[in-house]
């Protein structure tokens, strides 16, 4: 602590500076309490890491009257169960980057998480927050669509499982009900013969990507590409499934130049096409 003499007179909160509008605060103790609170107060909003919500509140683009903090719900477990990976919605991007289970069972999520914002953002920001916020430039929603993930939401009527591809409906808009809390993400664990890559382009490290794409390839036991799943971010109003652009890759073994050119040419967005070819090349190498 500094000596008392160094403590300055407190500036008035509303004079100068950038400050959120007043709100009340509740530390929820259970998902049920979150759901009840959201149902009782339409000005209530859930806060996890707050790395998207806090800036919106500072700029007063969002003005919730009650923040429901879900940190004490400890929704941050990562576990492999019955061949599938289950990730608590409160798991931070930093944990996705560092967790050995994620590195093994979903290396694409590790790569996508490492591209989000800056280290100081990734320490606080969460996977559930990214999905619920539904920024079209966000990496994790695209990665989860490409991986065929689903999300679990808890609401007044109980639990509901939503495919990640059906979650976002538009810019910052999802199919989550105002009374629902996203609690878990479920996805198949990476299989032998699968490979994935996330490629994006941003003007500076940590900026929102102008375009990005997640590509997952699966080789059969003979080494032939049997399936490709892909989803793009930054170029539409939601993370979009773009698997159809990779149909010509099925049955191929190698990322030949002509194959990469063909894939790139299937995208109207020139930069996205280039990134798609790059991600496909990396994914095929990683699946070797």
């Amino acid at each position: 602590m500094p000596p008392a003499g160094r403590v300055r007179a407190r500036r008035h909160l509303d004079r100068g500076g950038v400050k959120a509008a007043p709100f009340d605060y509740l530390r929820a103790r259970s998902p049920a309490e979150v759901v009840e609170t959201l149902a009782a107060d339409e000005g209530a909003k859930v806060i996890a890491g707050g790395q998207s919500l806090a800036p919106l509140m500072a700029l007063r683009l969002a003005r919730p009257t009650l923040l429901v903090d879900i940190e004490d719900l400890h929704l941050d477990t990562v576990a492999v169960e019955n061949d599938g990976l289950r990730i608590g919605a409160g798991t931070t991007h930093r944990t996705l980057e560092r967790h050995a289970t994620v590195a093994q069972a979903a290396p694409l999520l590790r790569e996508a998480a490492s591209l989000i914002g800056y280290p100081a953002i990734r320490v606080r920001g969460t996977i559930g927050g990214s999905l619920a916020h539904a920024d079209p430039a966000a990496e994790l929603p695209a990665a989860l669509v490409a991986l065929g993930a689903s999300v679990v939401a808890v609401g007044p009527a109980g639990e509901r499982v939503i495919p990640a591809a059906d979650l976002a409906t538009g810019f910052l808009t999802t199919t989550l009900e105002p009374t629902e809390l996203l609690v878990e993400i479920r996805l198949p664990a990476a299989r032998r013969g699968s490979g994935a890559a996330f490629c994006e382009w941003a003007p500076r490290a940590g900026d929102f990507a102008v375009a990005g794409i997640a590509v997952v390839v699966e080789r059969n036991p003979q080494g032939v590409c049997a399936a490709v799943h892909a989803a793009a971010c930054g170029v539409g109003s939601t993370a979009r499934d773009r698997s159809e652009a990779f149909a010509g890759v099925i049955g191929e073994r190698h990322a030949r130049d002509s194959l990469l050119r063909d894939v790139a040419g299937r995208f109207d967005h020139e930069l996205l096409g280039l990134l798609a070819a790059r991600a496909l090349h990396r994914a095929l190498e990683r699946a070797a």
């Binding site: 500094p2 007043p22 806060i47 700029l59 280290p119 606080r124």
Partner: protein, 154 residues
């Protein structure tokens, strides 16, 4: 609505009465007088308000103080003294890693956290780690050189 929040700041217990909308930055600067964390953009763009929360760098303008109940907070004031600089600070001084100094406390804290996790970072690791901290004076070359200097290791 005022809320009582207990924190541990630079290894000392602290207790403050805050409005929920007051950020961790407001608490360290205005309640505790620790003015090394700087209020730049106050919307998460510049990184000048970086402090360590649970030992990890965070933007203190993007964390409400009420979210920090019982968490350890470390500010730049925990490191070095004017007559005994922390090794990272001294490397910044020798490599001309600062001019006006506004971004410096946050740069130093971010560098300290990076070196704690990765004692031998490559230049790209340093640039990635510092990417969220804006400096409008130096052009970053001196800052990167300071963090790469082996004598910056604590």
């Amino acid at each position: 609505m005022k809320v009582n929040v207990k924190l541990e700041v630079n290894a000392d217990p602290a207790e403050v009465q805050v409005e929920p909308r007051e950020t961790l930055l407001d608490v360290v600067r205005e309640h505790l007088g620790l003015t090394g964390a700087h209020a730049g953009c106050e919307q998460g763009s510049c990184g000048a308000c970086t402090v360590l929360l649970d030992g990890e760098p965070v933007r203190s303008c993007l964390v409400f103080a009420v979210q920090c109940e019982n968490k350890p907070v470390t500010t730049i004031e925990a490191f070095g003294r004017p007559d005994a600089l922390h090794p990272v600070m001294d490397a910044f001084r020798r490599h001309h890693g600062l001019q006006c100094g506004f971004c410096t406390p946050a740069m130093v804290l971010t560098a300290i956290a990076l070196l704690a996790e990765n004692p031998n970072p490559a230049e790209d690791d340093v640039r990635q780690a510092l990417a969220g901290n804006l400096c409008r004076c130096t052009g970053y070359a001196g800052i990167v050189a300071a963090v790469l200097d082996p004598t910056a290791r604590p």
